[in-house]
Amino acid sequence: MNKVVASADEAIRDVGDGSVIMLGGFGLCGIPENLIRALVRKGSKNLTTISNNAGVDGFGVGLLLSAGQLRRHIGTYVGENKLLESMVLTGKIQLDLVPQGTFSERIRAGGAGIPAFFTPTGVGTIVAEGKETREFDGRIYVMERALTADFAFVKAWKGDRMGNLVYRKTARNFNPIMATAAKVTIAEVEHLVEAGELDGDLVHTPSVYVKRIFQGEMFEKRIEKRTVRKSVVGP
């Protein structure tokens, strides 16, 4: 079994116009930056992106925005993106904001064969408007539906040619759940290794979820807010 493809461009060869794509990452940490750049080169249009944030102006998902490739974005926080703001205000893009725990559970459910679930998050707020609610043991819960996608673009630290993945520190975030929730999951890794080189006890994403894998051509791994000691937090 060999899921290795030569490049990001080859990995996304069949991403057509109108595709729904999940992209891992929290802020700019753990984003599939090589796949994003390839998608800009390919120029697919009318895409729906499902990603916690929308990158920043000029990096990450922000590149897809400025290239005019997005029709709709589903996420939890988009505060770092001025371009998105103006596109929302002028009606050029549809923005769906979801509480982060609901967002992550909707994706987890999507990958786990659970069509919907009840959560206490957002009950009595605008995110629960129009949705079914139910009382369990004296508390009200709102029903939320699973999220799935045509493609998931994930980024891992290490991966083997079978598609087993290991993430590093907080770059894990949404990547493992998104890897489970799409028809085609594509992983870009910093280090591509042979099958058997990863300790099976320490694999985060088992190979079954991953369809294509490649070693990223270039990792800029930009830091969004560089904070160092001498500053406010810490002993």
Partner: protein, 224 residues
């Protein structure tokens, strides 16, 4: 117009007071901004584990210069370091531990809080919506929710209201409100004023508060 020095003083009083709510062995989530500063005031000898909703238990201080790691950030996207015993997990696991009431304390800011313990902190209609991030899940799931905020707006208008006017983050979720003026508990009897800042009276606090305050029989001075 407030002077910056005055703002720092207010924040110090608020975060100092909240730090006294910490207990040994607590798992705590600190929101972005002022709540993050509570980390600087953990009493010596007390072990508190900070949860970051982007998938980490055991946030340490900011890294030394040159040791920043782009794979290691907090929920405010700032570079951080790890403590001994740190663990990492997915966002789904992170919110399962939040929603599942495994986090002892959530400290977060608010634009408005009301006497039923509802709060608003994510959206002002007519302005750009940035998103709620993890706030709605934190207030719905944490075992205890403490709001850290300045008592009034910059213009002096009350932020502790009879009823929130902004879109809500959660309904009836706040346990305690800590401001530079007061320490207030949300109870079934309404908002109970437990402590007032040095130099202030209960009447002073009530004048800066739209909601009616029930003055505790054991009203104390707020330690800072």
């Amino acid at each position: 117009m407030n002077k910056p020095g005055k703002d720092i003083e207010k924040r110090e009083r608020i975060v100092n007071r909240i730090a006294r709510e910490l207990r040994d062995g607590f798992y705590v989530n600190l929101g972005i901004g002022m709540p993050t500063l509570v980390a600087n005031h953990v009493p010596p000898g007390m072990e508190v584990v900070l949860q970051s909703e982007n998938g980490m238990l055991g946030i340490g201080p900011y890294p030394a210069e040159g040791e920043e790691d782009c794979d290691l950030i907090n929920a405010g996207k700032e570079t951080v370091s790890e403590m001994a015993g740190t663990s990492y997990f997915s966002s789904a696991d992170s919110f399962a531990m939040i929603r599942g009431a495994h986090v002892d304390l959530s400290v977060l800011g608010a634009m408005e809080v009301d006497e039923s313990g509802s709060l608003a902190n994510w959206m002002i209609p007519g302005k750009m919506v940035k998103g709620m991030g993890g706030a709605m899940d934190l207030v719905a799931g944490a075992r205890r929710v403490v709001v850290a905020m300045e008592h009034t707006t910059r213009e002096g208008a009350p932020k502790i209201l009879k009823k929130c006017t902004l879109p809500l983050t959660g309904v009836g979720v706040v346990d305690t409100i800590v401001t530079e003026m007061a320490y207030i508990r949300v109870t079934e009897r309404g908002l109970v004023l437990e402590e007032v800042a040095p130099g202030l009276t209960a009447e002073d606090v009530q004048r800066a508060t739209e909601a009616r305050l029930v003055v505790s029989d054991g009203l104390r001075m707020m330690e800072s």
